[in-house]
Symmetry: C2
Subunit: 231 residues, 2 copies
């Protein structure tokens, strides 16, 4: 049953955490593993599972657009307020649906086999990272697109922060003389889900071309500079 899979889907219990501290960049990545949901009351846990199961069914039946907060609540036989209490907002709910896949991806980066995981040269890891991300996004495109918050919030969402931190770390190893922080934003932006959708679905561009462009981009960006005429 696809039900069990969602039991492990995790999210900070606080729907809208202000999260005041910028914090040392690379530390707060792993969102406490080991059966999360710090302490959920029995009924809360039950309803949470019901909601995720209902949401997944709605996605399968009517696409991501069919995942209305009211529809999910009704399908799970639960009040609307409960959905918002648990997931904060629509983005939170959709993100929770993607949580399992995201966890797997993070695990592959952190401890999987090279070149995605540790052990390979940073530039190779960068190349592998982008291609893996592109392929994964291409599979879950509709859901990931719907789960993307609007405007500035795009950059504060947990998965993106983790991925960007990862890229920044690899960049610091590969090109110490660059502004890794900002360069990582640039690289991440070129893997944006909305862009992927625009190019592949609206312009019919093959995924292979995107992968080639990513590979080339990494190459260009990490080439050591031989002249210092800039700045």
């Amino acid at each position: 049953m696809l039900y069990a899979g969602f039991m492990s889907a995790a999210l900070p219990s606080f729907p809208t955490p202000p999260e005041p501290a910028p914090s040392p960049e690379l530390i707060q990545l792993g969102t406490g593993d080991a059966e999360d949901e710090p302490c959920l009351r029995a009924d809360a846990a039950r309803n949470r599972a019901r909601l995720l199961e209902a949401a997944a069914r709605l996605v399968a039946e009517h696409g991501a657009a069919g995942v209305t907060m009211e529809a999910v609540a009704a399908a799970a036989h639960v009040g609307k307020g409960t959905v918002f209490r648990r997931f904060g907002d629509r983005v939170g709910l959709l993100t929770a649906l993607l949580d399992h896949s995201e966890k797997k991806f993070q695990a592959a980066l952190l401890g999987g086999p090279p070149p995605l995981g540790p052990g390979a040269p940073p530039v190779d890891r960068l190349r592998a990272f982008g291609c893996a991300l592109l392929r994964r996004a291409d599979e879950e495109l509709e859901l990931q697109l719907a789960a993307e918050p609007a405007g500035e919030r795009r950059y504060t969402v947990a998965p993106r922060r983790f991925q960007r931190g990862h890229v920044a770390m690899l960049l610091r190893q590969a090109v110490p003389d660059a502004d890794g922080e900002l360069l990582s934003h640039t690289l991440m932006s070129s893997l944006d889900v909305a862009l992927l959708h625009h190019l592949t679905r609206q312009n019919g561009m093959p995924l292979a071309r995107l992968e080639a462009a990513w590979t080339d981009l990494v190459t260009r960006v990490t080439r050591p500079r031989e002249d210092h005429l800039s700045r």
Copy 2:
């Protein structure tokens, strides 16, 4: 009076143009200048001006968040339907507010003095383009942020397509061996308004650092390759 300025603000008269043809990339840039608004009925033109003036006042008084479609309609003594008929949707209205500034910017790129305008080497023009765009976005940040459509639509909006086309053209001149189409998306993404907001407003990053990073990025990306080990 700031009123007159808005008379020249322009937008395709069709609220929701399907725009089926991908078209030869660089052609449909200039959105017919020379006193646009092909043919607006007297009352329509009057209401359009009223609406823009009212919207501008609301922005000044309550910020972009205060620009509610109903509020604008009320402030302009006009029905709500009229607002949507004229501007299509909220994004269209906000875009129209920015139209004057956008036109000026486009003119500077197309016919202004170098290095922004034609006459300078493409790499210099690229550098100037990014810095100019960053500075302009930094000024109108709130409005531009509010005018940014969500999701995939971000990439289909007219100003962005023009700017990306411009970058693509410069890239083709500077680095003919690269995938200019995709590389231009990458460069444009690193100038994204939401990202600018995130970095400068939420993380307190100085604009100068963004400009330096842009300059460096252009340098890295346009450096000629000497080895062909990639691919």
